[in-house]
């Protein structure tokens, strides 16, 4: 297949393809981080993760409309504010959901699957009623469109670079919060032994609520960022949910490093395979590999040793 192309062409394509793999990696990490916290740390199977992401996307869309109407001069910078608002909106909804629904189900993790699936259907219909069934187009500021010309034949998409930087920042922030802060220590304590954590004076209910809120908030930021590369509609969240769970489960549920390692291996496998065969076949082979590895290692790539 490469006979007809010059070495220079091929070199540039491989560089760009490598970069495509890195973008895919960032996208996977970004969408999985929130779930890694909720599913990994709390054991809640949150099927509504995609809908929390789309809430972030809709918040971004509303912010963009607001800026266009009232402050067109500041339009170039609206995206940063939109991401913060998306975090707050999804986080707030997450905390509400935790209070109304999830906290009654901590002892029945399988039921959270059904409850959150129902929640996802309700949210989809709510979006449809509020924003309409059609997809909305989120307009981006001019500087976020197009690509960076690195050499004459190598071009790198700006939104890809943006997603990568955002992913790095959020990952560092989450790692810091979870492993260095006092609150993160409490979260991990609750995960490892809820009763003992309560006994030493940690307000486990409050920790749960904030952890769930944080996970949903990060989903909101991811949704906001994905308006650059994907669609925003009532059911767009469904596009992400399978890949998200795949990354988290493959990585090992309770491990942040695992999530990153799994996002990396899945994205690289997929993007390499995609280049040599059709997209559908690449997906099939990637999934087969994941299933095979999970059969050998049911606990995922990295597993936290916890006393059960």
């Amino acid at each position: 297949m490469f006979g007809d192309y010059s070495l220079g062409d091929l070199g540039s394509i491989f560089v760009m393809q490598g970069f495509a793999g890195l973008i895919l990696f960032s996208v996977y990490v970004l969408m999985a981080l929130g779930l890694a916290i909720i599913f990994g740390q709390m054991g809640v199977i949150n099927m509504a993760h995609g809908e929390f992401m789309i809430l972030g996307a809709y918040v971004t869309w509303m912010t963009s409309n607001l800026f266009q109407t009232y402050m067109p001069g500041l339009f170039g910078g609206y995206f940063f504010l939109a991401m913060i608002l998306a975090f707050l909106a999804s986080g707030a909804l997450g905390m509400l959901v935790e209070w109304v629904l999830i906290r009654h189900l901590y002892k029945r993790p399988l039921d959270t699957l059904l409850a959150t699936w129902g929640l996802s259907l309700m949210l989809q219909q709510a979006y449809r009623s509020v924003f309409g069934a059609r997809e909305v187009g989120v307009e981006l500021p001019q500087w976020m469109l197009g690509s960076l010309q690195v050499t004459s034949s190598i071009e790198v998409p700006i939104n890809g670079v943006f997603v990568m930087c955002l992913t790095v920042l959020i990952t560092i922030a989450v790692a810091y919060v979870m492993y260095k802060s006092r609150w993160g220590r409490q979260v991990r304590a609750v995960v490892q032994n809820r009763i003992m954590a309560g006994a030493v004076g940690i307000n486990t209910e409050k920790v749960d609520r904030y952890t769930f809120g944080l996970g949903c908030g990060i989903a909101g930021v991811a949704g906001s960022a994905f308006t650059m590369i994907g669609s925003t509609g009532p059911t767009s969240g469904q596009l992400y949910i399978v890949d998200t769970f795949l990354v988290v489960v493959f990585g090992g549920a309770a491990s942040l490093v695992g999530t990153i390692a799994s996002a990396f291996s899945i994205s690289q496998t997929q993007s390499t395979l995609e280049f040599f065969m059709s997209g559908s076949m690449a997906k099939v082979l990637t999934l087969l590999a994941v299933v095979g590895i999970l059969m050998l290692r049911p606990q995922g790539l990295f597993a936290l040793k916890v006393r059960k």
Binding site: D9, Q17, G137, V138, L145, S231
Partner: protein, 419 residues
Amino acid sequence: MSDETNKGLLSPLRRKLLMGMAAVPAITMLPRTSFAQAPATSAVNTTGLAVTDTEVTVGILHSATGTMAISETGSIEAEKLAIEQINAAGGVLGRKIKFIQEDGASDWPTFAEKAKKLLVNDKVAAIMGCWTSASRKAVLPVVEQYNGMLYYPTFYEGLEQSKNVIYTGQEATQQILAGLNWIAKEKGAKTFFFIGSDYIWPRTSNKIARKHVENVLKGKVVGEEYYPLGNTQFNSVINKIKLTKPDVIFTDVVGGSNVAFYKQLKAAGIDLAKQALLTISVTEDEIDGIGGENIAGAYACMKYFQSLDNPNNKAFVPAFKKMWGEKTVIGDVTQAAYLGPWLWKLTVEKAGSFDVDKIAAASPGVEFKGAPEGYVRIHENHHLWSKTRVGRAKLDGQFELIYETADLVEPDPFPKGYQ
């Protein structure tokens, strides 16, 4: 709205069912003075459909909820508009059209079940409905078994023909071939790269397109790629496009993937003003989500654009916007859905009867001169003769008409040499 229609309709209907065929002469003796010019119900309805002296009931069967609501909302709106206009113009054979709307909920078994409900319980005279091929395939055995009449609006892959269905959208050869011919001639295109979503319509369409490119245009297909429905990452295939440098990118990606594809194409630095791209899956509806700035310059090949400059369309677009809001856009399928009720009305009037068998037999040759896309006519094979057009997407989300075939293109659902 559907609830009200249900209530209003069910009781007389049930009564009529109980009375059975023996009651038919009795019904004709009911007062008909206000509709003196209308023919007797017993004469125009011999099979027990929901037709009274003043009213006739049809069904609307689309997804108002679920994934497909994005696309089907426009079709529902168009059908309601057509029904309202027909009623304002005096109805069908002197009878006002009432509709019962059912929700297929983007779920194919639900479509089949609702179709059965409409035909068996409600006795509707016709169904305007379905969108995806999957939903049509689910409904087809039902309308054939209970002898209903379905008006199906979407452009689709062909390879189907039924006495009980009128296909108001284009089948694949009708839509694709003229567009390929045009771009091959206009751009001197020799190499083509196909990208589609991975299901029956893109696969069949691309198969037809490939045969045409290789056998008729003597060109070359340098890549043919399929991605799962809902895929959101297209950077790899975009790199392959950069490597193979095709003259034309030919796409039939659908749904949310569409948005991702054009956004990433733009971000990867592929300028659609320089790189020719021909799509058969993007209408004005889709551009709403994609964003005009991401797709401006791309060519789309179908039979209708909102911007068409003809008297019918100039009346249709404002009427649609008046009913459904200034911001709504009208895509190819929405227009095709609008044709459904009108074609049915014209066929009923030609047949002089609501009976499905008579309508099916009378359909070929029915002409609709008021179609927003221009004149259309029903073919022997129950598809429409229609023109094929190429439009170029503009920044504002509308298409600019670039080319249209001189004559109506004959529908050919079973194309020889393309299978």
